[in-house]
Every structure is written in structure tokens, then in C-alpha cells.
Subunit: 226 residues, 2 copies
């Protein structure tokens, strides 16, 4: 009897895992629904229906639609930032700027498009979210922006990139080229990896043809991503 009871009653860990899985299912449903209907246009009933559960069950995990929104935004940018930092940490300390930039572009795009509902919800509803959520999220965006600012500043200090382009504009234009991809990217357009390499080469070298390599060895004029 004791053994039978042990077999049917979930262990505390299983309970926690299940609860975490339910939480994740609600968040996925919320991201999908916010993306499709906007923030004001989404009700907790919509999210519950998308998650395949009763609206009442959501309250066990989240106090309000606003709390769900905050979590969706936090997870969306957090996953991208973590992926970018991890890919940077995996490089050799003396890795050249070109390699750092391409690793960051590759991991930003891969994570952004892997969790497209979260990223796209962010893009589509950021302007519509209540002020308290927006303020917190803006600070996260700024922290992530600061990471890219630092990357470009280091490249400039090392003399790896030209000094005549406003680094703040370069950063915003580059992040824009990446973020907008949630609105158009489909696998039929090519792999995410191919897109990352194209953006990296374009950002480093530009569209104009380059004349044959006349630079000293080790300072290749054509950096090849990947």
C-alpha cells in the first residue's frame, strides 16, 4: 500500500516540473496571442483557449494579464541576450572584432527566430504596453543595447572598424535589420545561418565590389563569416 501510494502520488519534483511546464505553456500561448491580437485586443480567456485550459487555471500561475505581458517581454529579450553573451564567452579572448560581431549577429538571429512569438510580440506590442511594464522593459532593452555599444566601441579602439560612422546609428540600424526579420523570415528564404552570414559580410564589407587583396597578410580584405 505504501509502495502503491508512492507510485501514484507525484513526487514534489515532478509536481514542480509539471507546474513549470504548465507555466511555460501559458507563456507560449500568451506570446502567440499578444503577437496576433495586440495587448489591448487580448483577454485572459483568449490566452487560456490558446493554452487549452480554463481561464481560472491561469490565475494559479499569473496574477494578471499585465504580469503575463511582463514575463513574455522579459523572456523574449532575456533569451536573446543570454545567447549572445554565451556565444561571445565561447570565443578566444583575443578573437578579432569580425569574429565577435558575426558570433553576436548569428546568436541574436538564431534565438530571435527560434522563439519568434516572443520576439514578435515584443516588436508588435511594445508601444501599447502599460507604463510600469514598459519602464522595466525599456531598462532591459537599454542593457542589451549597451552590450552592442561596448562591442562596437572595442572594435573602434582596436582600429578594427572605421571611425567616421556614428556608432549609435550603426548599432540601431544593425539591430533593426535583425529584429525586422521576425516579420518576414521563413525557412524558404534560406537558413538562419545563411542570413546571419549575409548580414555580417554586408555590415563589415558593404555591397561595393572590393579590389583584389592588397592588404598585408593576416589582414584579409574579405572576411568570410563562419
Amino acid at each position: 500500500m505504501v509502495a502503491a501510494a508512492l507510485m501514484t502520488a507525484p513526487s514534489p519534483e515532478t509536481g514542480a516540473r509539471k507546474s513549470g511546464a504548465t507555466r511555460g505553456r501559458i507563456l507560449d500561448a500568451a506570446a502567440r496571442t499578444f503577437r496576433a491580437k495586440g495587448y489591448a485586443g487580448t483577454t485572459l480567456n483568449d490566452i487560456a483557449a490558446a493554452a487549452g485550459m480554463q481561464a481560472g487555471s491561469i490565475f494559479y500561475h499569473f496574477a494578471s494579464k499585465e504580469e503575463l505581458l511582463g514575463e513574455v517581454l522579459r523572456i523574449g529579450i532575456g533569451r536573446v541576450f543570454d545567447a549572445v553573451r554565451q556565444s561571445a564567452a565561447a570565443l578566444a579572448p583575443d578573437a578579432p572584432f569580425e569574429q565577435r560581431l558575426c558570433a553576436a549577429i548569428g546568436s541574436h538571429l538564431a534565438m530571435l527566430l527560434k522563439h519568434g512569438d516572443y520576439s514578435s510580440a515584443d516588436i508588435r506590442i511594445f508601444g501599447m504596453v502599460p507604463d510600469p511594464v514598459r519602464r522595466v522593459h525599456l531598462r532591459r532593452r537599454q542593457a542589451y543595447g549597451a552590450w552592442w555599444r561596448q562591442l562596437l566601441a572595442e572594435g573602434r579602439e582596436r582600429g578594427a572598424i572605421r571611425a567616421d560612422l556614428n556608432p549609435s546609428l550603426v548599432r540601431m540600424l544593425l539591430l533593426g535589420a535583425m529584429n525586422w526579420s521576425t516579420e518576414w523570415y521563413k525557412p524558404a528564404r534560406g537558413s538562419i545561418d545563411a542570413m546571419a552570414k549575409t548580414l555580417c559580410t554586408l555590415t563589415l564589407e558593404g555591397l561595393l565590389p572590393r579590389i583584389p587583396d592588397l592588404a598585408p597578410a593576416g589582414r584579409g580584405r574579405r572576411f568570410r563569416a563562419g
Copy 2:
């Protein structure tokens, strides 16, 4: 008396002008409200309040929220496309590719940001709009995309741009860098013109430093926008 009647009764043209002005006021209010609240989250009452009129007055000009949405989207992309075509038509027929690209980037950005509510409404709510409106709007987006495809194809035919980058990816990344600016651009970041020049130089030349000009005269290695 006749003279007095002529002075007080609006002429047919004045009536049409006033009606056009009211229509424009409703559309501006609709764009602003769609941008802020999404499509599902916006009611005709919200739009009427933003336009400073009664909801009933809107029906004199537009049959439904869907019709208003269709007009906002049509106007948003139409203005940008017209501006880009006009700036291209103003160039000499033999203008070099660099000049064509920079003119297109400059006019796209200027019109996009001048009418930020329309562009941003498009960006934020496109994924949320009813299917019939979306289908029509997608065809307009595709026509505009085809203009850029043609520009890049001509650059390639003339040998003005390198042949090893997927032109479709280049186009989507470039449009993304521009379109995303409605989400972050403020005059405090610098002028729209400065942003256009930065994007043009970045797209043509890239971030890497270039070695001193060794190309034949007339084929400058550093193209300067504007």
C-alpha cells in the same frame, strides 16, 4: 444679396476641401490609435475621440473600422513608394548605382519618419489585420519590394555591386534597418538625413576600414553620400 449669398454659401470646391480635410483628420487619428492600441484594441469610438468628433460622423466618410484600416495601410506604403519613385525619377538617367541607392534610402526614411503613425501602425498591426485587408496590402508590399529588387538587380548587371551576396536577403535586411527606425528614431539621435547617409555608406562600404584609394580615377573607393 446675391453677393452676400455667394460669400456665405461654401462653393462646391470648398465643401470638397473641407470634406477632404475631415477625412484626413479621421485617418490621422486612426493611424495614431491603431499604432497605440493595435487593431483589435481600437474601437471607432476611440478613433472618433482622437479626431475630436462623434463616432457617427466617421460613418459619413468610412463604412467600417476595416475600411479605415485598409486606407491607413494603403496611404502609409503609398506615400513611401511615391517618394522613392519621385526621387529616382529626379536623377540623371545615367546616375551611378551608389547615387540611386542613397536617394532611395533617403526618401524612404524621410517619408517613413515624417508620417510615423502610418508607418508604425503598419509595422505593429500588420500581423493582426483581417485576411481580406492583409491580402490587398501584401500585394502593395510586394510591388514595393519588387522596386528594390529591380534596383539591386540593375546594380549587379552594371557590375556596381558584388555578386556573392543573396540579393533577396540584402533587400530584406536593408528594408528592415530602415523600417525599424520608426520604433527608435527621435530627432535627438541626429537628423534623418544623417541617418540616411550613415545607412547608405554602411550598406555600400561596410564597417571595416578601407585601405587608401588605389582604384582608377572615377571609381572612388569611398563613396560619399550627399
